[in-house]
């Protein structure tokens, strides 16, 4: 093979050298033999003359400008939509509230059990305020731990049946402190694509590898888990987590926890469950999604309080190991002042009240189903949330094509409902930092304190306004 190539090259070279030296024409011009190599030389001279005759390329002269490169301004130009202000409440945010001097029916506050303004809560808060003042003036490690905090943690663990729980001072900071405390660089997290901004921020801060699966789609979850763990020997030594929400804030869907737990046990993942909208709502006694699906609680970690208990703050429960780890490595717990003591005592009274009156849950469920029935025939909007979700989510049947125009249309609907009929409902708003792409819609937060009259008033108003604004056939 090589020798054939060598032969071919030598033959070619021989031909070349012979043609150079061989005479081209049998002529002698000015005493010079016209040989083969003269062709190459003539060609070269022609090319040189051609290049010399062309104009040289001069760089176009740009005059020096006076413009100075400065930094961008801190904010982009203010547009019309940025100037809208939310309505101001003038009384407690219960089922009825005062806006601009008028009394309106309130479907905008996550007051699921109707505990805002309740006698018992207000009394326990007032006595707490007299005893402890308002703030706790210190992080948990430096004399900010007040005995009501420890009592509240014990009460929550007793209520849920877990070994221990840890209290955070703000709802949204709970999830984005818990996730970086457990997930470090190199770990694998499988999360739903519809999780809210707090979870997204926690996932970003944890610097782990995050893989998203289709919103609430168990087949997609299974295929993602299969894809990650198949043949990946290294994955067995890494920590693996699944992050889901019980009731999704962005769409009102409910995660099927029993399916998730079966998948997690097959592939050896740990589950972090955000129960901000289902604690105190789902389950026969309000213990959340795990009670509703019949899954024992010790199999996963629970996060977040908030809405139903009519107070602020968050918690995380689990096994003792899990909870103790957070007391030193969770940044929102260690580096931040603790929960104001009166909110902790409000949480304790709320849980006590819920345990004594489980009928509130039945009331809430009845209200949700009544509202869903009434809203079935609203023109132009469909109910797209799960029948169990206390947050009824309405989306446009046919989108106008651009998210901005959709947002504007929905806001017009809610503004008119407030101004003309005295019904306070809201649209879901998205921040520019949010990477969730689920459709926006109108949210109604149902409460156990709403009467049938309230619900009928709200649905009648929505039907009227939607008919007026969405009646143009596209």
């Amino acid at each position: 093979m090589a020798s054939a190539v060598m032969n071919a090259t030598t033959v070619a070279l021989d031909w070349l050298s012979s043609s150079f030296d061989a005479p081209l024409a049998r002529a002698v011009i000015f005493g010079v033999h016209v040989d083969g190599h003269l062709v190459v030389e003539v060609l070269l001279i022609v090319v040189i003359l051609f290049l010399l005759s062309r104009k040289s390329y001069k760089h176009p002269k740009k005059p020096l400008t006076e413009k100075v490169l400065g930094p961008e301004p801190l904010h982009p130009p203010i547009t019309e939509e940025m100037l809208s202000e939310p309505p101001t409440l003038e009384s407690a945010a219960g089922t009825h509230t005062m806006i601009d001097g008028k009394e309106v029916v309130n479907f905008a506050c996550a007051n699921y059990l109707g505990l805002i303004g309740h006698e018992k809560l207000i009394n326990s808060c007032a006595s707490s305020l007299e005893k402890y003042g308002v703030g706790s003036c210190g992080p948990r490690g430096f004399y900010g731990t007040i005995d009501v905090h420890l009592d509240c943690e014990e009460r929550i663990s007793k209520f849920l049946g877990t070994s221990d729980s840890v209290l955070y001072s703000y709802g949204i900071s709970t999830i984005f402190s818990v996730i970086p405390a457990f997930c470090k660089k190199g770990d694998i997290i499988v999360a739903d694509e519809g999780v809210h901004w707090g979870v997204q921020n926690g996932l970003y801060l944890s610097r782990s590898t995050v893989v998203y699966f289709k919103h609430n789609d168990m087949a997609s979850l299974e295929s993602t888990l299969e894809r990650i763990t198949k043949g990946n020997k290294r994955a067995e030594r890494l920590r693996r987590y699944i992050v889901v929400e019980a009731v999704y804030q962005n769409s009102g869907q409910v995660a099927p926890l029993d399916v998730i737990v079966k998948l997690k046990e097959r592939y050896h993942f740990r589950v972090i469950l955000d129960e901000s909208n289902s604690f105190g709502v789902l389950g026969s006694s309000g213990r959340g999604l795990s009670e509703h699906c019949g899954v024992p609680v010790n199999r996963h970690n629970h996060v977040r309080a908030g809405g139903a208990l009519a107070t602020d703050g968050g918690f995380c429960t689990g096994s003792v190991r899990v909870v103790d780890h957070q007391r030193l490595s969770s940044s929102g717990y260690v580096f931040s002042a603790s929960l104001p003591p009166y909110l902790a005592s409000a949480a304790i009274s709320a849980i006590d009240h819920l345990e004594e009156n489980p009928s509130l849950l039945g009331q809430l469920r009845e209200n949700i189903s009544l509202l869903r029935r009434e809203l079935e025939d609203v023109p132009g909007l469909t109910v797209s949330s799960n029948p169990l979700s206390p947050m009824v989510f309405l989306t446009l049947k046919r989108s106008t094509g651009s998210p901005k125009a959709d947002q504007q249309l929905l806001e017009d609907i809610t503004n008119r409902a407030l101004k003309e009929d005295g019904v306070f409902i809201v649209t879901s708003k998205r921040s520019t930092l949010d990477r969730c792409r689920l459709p926006i819609g109108i949210r109604l937060f149902v409460s156990a304190g709403h009467t049938h009259g309230d619900i009928q008033k709200a649905s009648a108003s929505l039907k009227r306004v939607a008919a007026a604004l969405l009646s143009e056939p596209i």
């Binding site: 939310p86 003042g133 520019t432």
Partner: protein, 491 residues
């Protein structure tokens, strides 16, 4: 500045080495014991939550002195409070509460102006607002969470701080973590002080911008870093940076010193960088009328682009605020995640912030605010000078109510803390990882509600304990010599 003597450094390193060695020995025994006992079936196939050395510090060093941290209290964190006693059956691994409480002098809580306990002006108004608005709105600000109180507080904060507009959030930590990503994005540069608080670090990381650090409180190094970064441009493309922001704090909580604000602002103006000032500890506590470091150091508030602060420390409430120009606040209201997704601040806390600010400004009709401000300044200066006279190494500038006392050695941390508690003085000790490994310290926070007798008692106890533990690293200032009676008589 901390001056660490060589001998102290060596002994501290030796102590840490000893603790490390013992810890490893214990780990070895634990591994042998575990190997004999079968592992529980539940965790088969799961990677452990913490691998080997990740929580070594927690298990082997921190747990030994766990009783010095997280002490529960049973009353308001005022000048004197009740500390709940705890006991442990398993060598400090778990602590159990008892029913006994002991009344101690509070030198650890952030109660700079004394608003932590019931106040005669604030508390009735807070209870009234609780009855009117209930404990929480359970809704985000843009939906149904804005009440008249929130609007009033925002206007008051803007007036107090000296900026055109402000925005209020329910938690100080979330304020930083959610604002910085909105303002800075990819292609921006964040230059932050090396000792900035964890919330700023988290916010900077979450923003996606490039982060650079400059030496603590040194405007010359800041200028060096700025020049180098502007010359180099963005990491790989070398295009010019879209915007540059410099983040500093008013009072650094672990050092007690004020930031060199006028020089830093001058450097930023020269290079057209934006400034962000975090006044968590200094708002309400320093300055002639309590308006923070800008007033104290004579800096015009229009020169600082964004001012951030919290209500937890001086106002006895909870929550944080951002004060900036009207346009920036409008933009934040439109897109900041903490405004769009997080529950609004609880109404009684808002009322407490409003009332305490009114007291400080003097708008409640009395001069209690001015009294409190002079008292905290006098108390801080008195305490600091007395401690220095006794020979302790105290950090921080004059007028700052935060004073760390250097301990260095890890064994002195629990000794100091427990001995002070036995004598009914509650102090806060801080070790790694909040401070560098060798520089453990005890941090004192003075309040306007401390009387002179309280401070003298505190000084006595600290001096006694300091002698016992051996932390008087500096020579004691000699007492002024009394004139000799005999010499006088001869004249």
């Amino acid at each position: 500045m901390v001056r660490l003597p060589y001998l102290t450094a060596l002994t501290t390193l030796f102590s840490y080495g000893l603790l490390f060695a013992f810890g490893q020995l214990r780990d070895l025994f634990r591994r042998i014991v575990d190997w004999h006992n079968a592992k529980s079936k539940d965790l088969q196939g799961y990677a452990p939550i913490c691998l080997g050395l990740e929580d070594f510090y927690t298990r082997r060093l921190y747990l030994r002195i766990q009783d010095c941290f997280g002490r529960p209290i049973a009353s308001a964190p005022d000048a004197w409070f009740d500390v709940v006693e705890r006991y442990s059956n398993d060598n400090n691994k778990t602590l159990h509460r008892t029913e006994n409480i002991s009344k101690c002098l509070n030198l650890g809580s952030y109660n700079y102006l004394g608003f932590a306990a019931s106040d005669e002006y604030c508390t009735p108004r807070v209870v009234e607002s609780l009855k009117r608005y209930s404990s929480s709105t359970c809704s985000v600000r843009v939906d149904g969470g804005t009440t008249k109180l929130h609007i009033e507080l925002e206007e008051l904060v803007a007036r107090f701080v000296g900026k055109p507009a402000s925005l209020v959030f329910g938690m100080g930590y979330v304020t930083n973590s959610a604002i910085i990503p909105v303002i800075m994005g990819k292609g921006g540069l964040i230059i932050s002080d090396s000792l900035n608080h964890n919330s700023i670090v988290n916010g900077a990381r979450g923003s996606g911008a490039t982060v650079r650090v400059f030496q603590h409180n040194s405007p010359s190094h800041l200028e060096e870093v700025l020049r180098e970064q502007i010359a180099n441009g963005q990491p790989r493309t070398h295009r010019p940076w879209k915007k540059i922001i410099v983040i500093v704090e008013g009072i650094y909580s672990m050092e007690g010193e004020l930031c060199k604000l006028p020089e830093i602002i001058a450097v930023c103006k020269k290079y057209k960088a934006y400034t962000y000032l975090d006044e968590a500890h200094s708002i309400g506590a320093v300055g002639k009328s309590g308006r923070g470091v800008c007033e104290l150091l004579g800096v015009d508030t229009a020169d600082v682009d964004i001012m951030m602060g919290t209500f937890t420390k001086s106002f006895g409430s909870c929550g944080g605020y951002i004060a900036a120009s009207k346009e920036i606040i409008q933009y934040l209201k439109f897109t900041c995640p903490a405004h769009l997704y997080a529950t609004s601040m609880s109404a009684p806390a808002v009322q407490q912030a409003i009332s305490s600010m009114k007291v400080i400004l003097g708008e409640d009709g009395s001069n209690r605010g001015a009294q409190k401000l002079t008292r905290i300044r006098e108390n801080s200066n008195f305490f600091r000078s007395e401690l220095q006279k006794m020979g302790f190494e105290v950090l921080g500038d004059n007028d700052s109510p935060v004073m760390p006392i250097m301990l260095y050695n890890p064994a002195k941390i629990p000794a100091f803390s427990r001995e002070c508690l036995r004598q009914n003085v509650a102090v806060v000790t801080v070790a790694f990882p909040a401070t560098p490994l060798l520089l453990a310290r005890a941090r004192i926070c003075i309040s306007a509600s401390h009387t002179r007798e309280d401070l003298i008692k505190g000084l006595e106890v600290i001096s006694k304990v300091g002698d016992l533990v051996g932390i008087k690293y500096f020579p004691v200032e000699p007492e002024k010599k009394q004139p000799d009676r005999y010499t006088k008589k001869l004249e």
